[in-house]
């Protein structure tokens, strides 16, 4: 079995490193190994690689290069933004977020609660949508920061972050968005929004794992999380991971030039898969908000059967790699907090499968899933004691 045989539709989990990205990294893993902070001319190439990568990241976001801070991952960016706001917004002791955030935000919020910070979790409806009027009620003069994801990793919902940023600012609060799943998949222009902080992660857009970035709006008060050296203009200590940063810069360049393809070709593959599965598998349930959803994500439940079984049989049949919100795939014994938050009934809750595409997918991948999955659903339902009434 080789990587060519893999039908990889798990791009919200991670993506393959683009060949161009790999090429852009190689010099800094081989010959150009100087520390960009060093005074000698040998440091010029790595230093200028960091500069141009920062410009590429900024260009993808509609930001300025000086608004970009490189971090190690999306989680670090999230932690930095939220902790920074609590530090700088003295006298304000509340965080407003949602019940469907990534654990990078939720676990931090639970931790902060133990230390006396008040956290309000906005609920979602059965399509995973939050209510702006509810947000207006909850965001108040005590709120230091509002943190709402740009797009949900499991169901793909896009959230009204621009409106939320405005509401937050009306109340004097800062606004952060975890955009790890959105960057590179939907056009983002931060120059037209009031968003203060935006987190992104390299490995979700064909850069390697271990690199992230935090956008910090110019003039937004900021407090450094990782203390130490003067790197990133004192905003994040640690010697620059030059190769990873160069990789992220290249990945952002590529993402900018392919952003149209995400809305057209990638979306078309996702839509064809959705139509095909709904037509060929009885009793399907597509999760999320069809009106406001990432173009690459399909989350679908097959009632009466369990997600891990579906995934393992899909891999066995055609090396299909997808993901599931079932308890058994996580090892946590509880199914996905997102699917529970949208109030899925128990017949459906354990049988969710998430397909997430990238520009490296082909129509043949959709064919492989459509050829395989309906039979697997039939077989597993024949094994199940439920669903016969």
């Amino acid at each position: 079995m080789t990587a060519q045989d893999i039908v990889y539709v798990d791009n919200n989990a991670t993506t393959r490193v683009a060949p161009e990205v790999f090429e852009a990294m190689v010099p800094f893993l081989t010959t150009e190994y100087a520390n960009p902070s060093s005074p000698h001319p040998f440091a010029a190439a790595p230093a200028s690689a960091v500069v141009s990568a920062r410009e590429s990241v900024a260009a993808l976001l509609g930001a300025s290069a000086d608004e970009i801070v490189f971090t190690s991952c999306g989680s670090e960016s999230d932690n930095t933004a939220i902790r920074s706001a609590l530090e700088t917004q003295r006298g304000r002791n509340k965080v407003v977020t949602t019940v469907v955030e990534h654990p990078a935000v939720l676990t931090l919020c639970r931790f902060l609660e133990k230390h006396g910070v008040r956290v309000e979790y906005l609920p979602v409806d059965s399509r995973g949508r939050i209510s702006l009027s509810q947000a207006r009620e909850v965001i108040d003069e005590d709120t230091a920061i509002v943190s709402v994801m740009y797009a949900n990793n499991e169901i793909g919902n896009l959230y009204p972050v621009n409106e939320l940023a405005e509401i937050a600012h009306e109340r004097g609060a800062l606004f952060h968005t975890d955009a790890v799943q959105a960057v590179g998949k939907v056009p983002i222009d931060l120059s037209k929004t009031q968003i203060d902080f935006l987190s992104l992660s390299g490995h979700k857009l064909h850069a390697p794992k271990g690199i992230g970035a935090l956008y910090v709006r110019r003039f937004t008060p900021y407090s450094t999380f990782l203390l130490g050296g003067h790197q990133e203009r004192g905003r994040r200590a640690g010697t620059e991971a030059v190769a990873n940063i160069a990789g992220l810069g290249k990945a952002c360049e590529l993402a900018l030039s392919h952003i149209g393809e995400e809305q057209t070709r990638v979306r078309a593959m996702r839509d064809r898969l959705e139509r095909g599965l709904v037509a060929s598998c009885p009793d399907p349930l597509v999760n999320g908000d069809p009106e406001h959803r990432l173009p690459n994500t399909l989350n679908i439940c097959f009632r009466y059967i369990e997600g891990e079984s579906i995934l393992l049989r899909m891999y066995q049949a055609a090396h299909i790699c997808a993901s599931s919100g079932s308890a058994c795939t996580s090892g946590s014994l509880e199914p996905s907090h997102v699917l529970r938050a949208i109030g899925l009934d128990y017949r459906s809750l354990h049988g969710s499968v998430r397909f997430s595409f990238s520009r490296y997918n082909q129509e043949s991948d959709v064919d492989a899933i459509l050829e395989t999955l309906p039979g697997i659903v039939r077989e597993l339902r024949a094994l199940s004691p439920f669903g016969r009434d």
């Binding site: 393992l312 014994l333 509880e334 439920f386």
Partner: protein, 290 residues
């Protein structure tokens, strides 16, 4: 991604004995769709009621749940009820080579399904000699874990049959404690009860001076607080006040920088309590009062 043995994958991908038996002599049903796994086991006996003639199953669950159920059906066929009754969840896991510990609850579901089938057999066929699983467990029907509806009897059974010693293991084998976690203390109490008092006994016969009177003990605690603990905390701008001593519970109030410090609980448990255990008695618990 779980590391399943080839045999688990084989029994998952090619399950044996799937389906229903319309005229089954006994049917055992365990788990439910809320919990994420469930199993129905159909048993058909030989005409004289002595040996198991046929077994079929239906399972809703993950790969290891399906494999465990399928393995169980093969293991049961041809056995007498007495032989079959002696099979444990560990036998199912062994038959499959190995199950990841986090998935042992799948094998437990198999043995519970057979216990349920035996009860049904007994009810439907009073004329046969059906060895019913004895319910000698203390508080057997009491629900300990409400998230996954696990009874004390089920927990005691897996602890006994698998020699479990930690709450985490009990969670892997029964799921109990794996939801909200509210019952973990309860599970620990059951473990303590079953695994004897030795663990706690070791803890309480610490290096401390023994045979202290109550007054001596209180004086010693006060002295350790004043000469060791408070100077240590003061060095970091904090302080602590002794409020009360009730048996092994030492109640303290944090002051100075310690009050409201995020790491204070860690300090209390890992340093203040450890010091008192070392200098006074191994059984001491430090409790913060606000």
């Amino acid at each position: 991604m779980w590391n399943y043995t080839d045999k688990v994958m084989d029994y998952f991908l090619h399950p044996r004995n799937v389906g229903e038996i319309a005229d089954a002599d006994g049917v055992g049903e365990v788990g439910n769709i809320v919990c994420g796994d469930a199993m129905k086991l159909y048993v058909k006996m030989s005409p004289d009621g002595r040996t198991i003639a046929d077994v079929k199953f239906q399972t809703f669950g993950c790969a290891s749940a399906i494999a465990s159920a399928s393995a169980l059906t093969e293991m049961l066929k041809g056995k007498t009820l007495e032989e079959a009754r002696r099979l444990t969840n560990q036998d199912i896991a062994d038959y499959l080579g190995e199950l990841p510990e986090e998935k042992m609850h799948c094998s437990v579901m198999g043995s519970e399904a057979f216990d349920a089938a035996l009860k049904d057999l007994k009810a439907k066929h009073p004329e046969w000699e059906v060895p019913v699983p004895e319910e000698v467990e203390e508080g057997a029907e009491r629900i300990v874990c409400h998230c996954f509806s696990v009874t004390e009897g089920e927990i005691r059974k897996v602890i006994r049959e698998n020699h479990l010693t930690t709450v985490e293991q009990v969670t892997h084998f029964t799921k109990a404690g794996g939801g909200c976690g509210g019952c973990r203390d309860d599970i620990q109490a059951i473990l303590d009860d079953m695994n004897g008092q030795q663990a706690r006994a070791e803890e309480t016969t610490a290096p401390a001076p023994s045979n202290l009177t109550n007054l001596q003990r209180i004086a010693l605690i006060q002295s350790v607080m004043d000469t060791v603990i408070r100077p240590g905390l003061k060095a970091d701008g904090g302080d602590v006040e002794l409020i009360d001593i009730d048996g092994n519970d030492v109640k303290v109030r944090l002051k100075g920088k310690c009050a409201g410090c995020g790491a204070a609980l860690q300090t209390l448990k890992h340093w203040v309590e450890a010091k008192l255990r070392e200098k006074v008695s191994g059984g001491i618990n430090v409790i913060e009062v606000k």
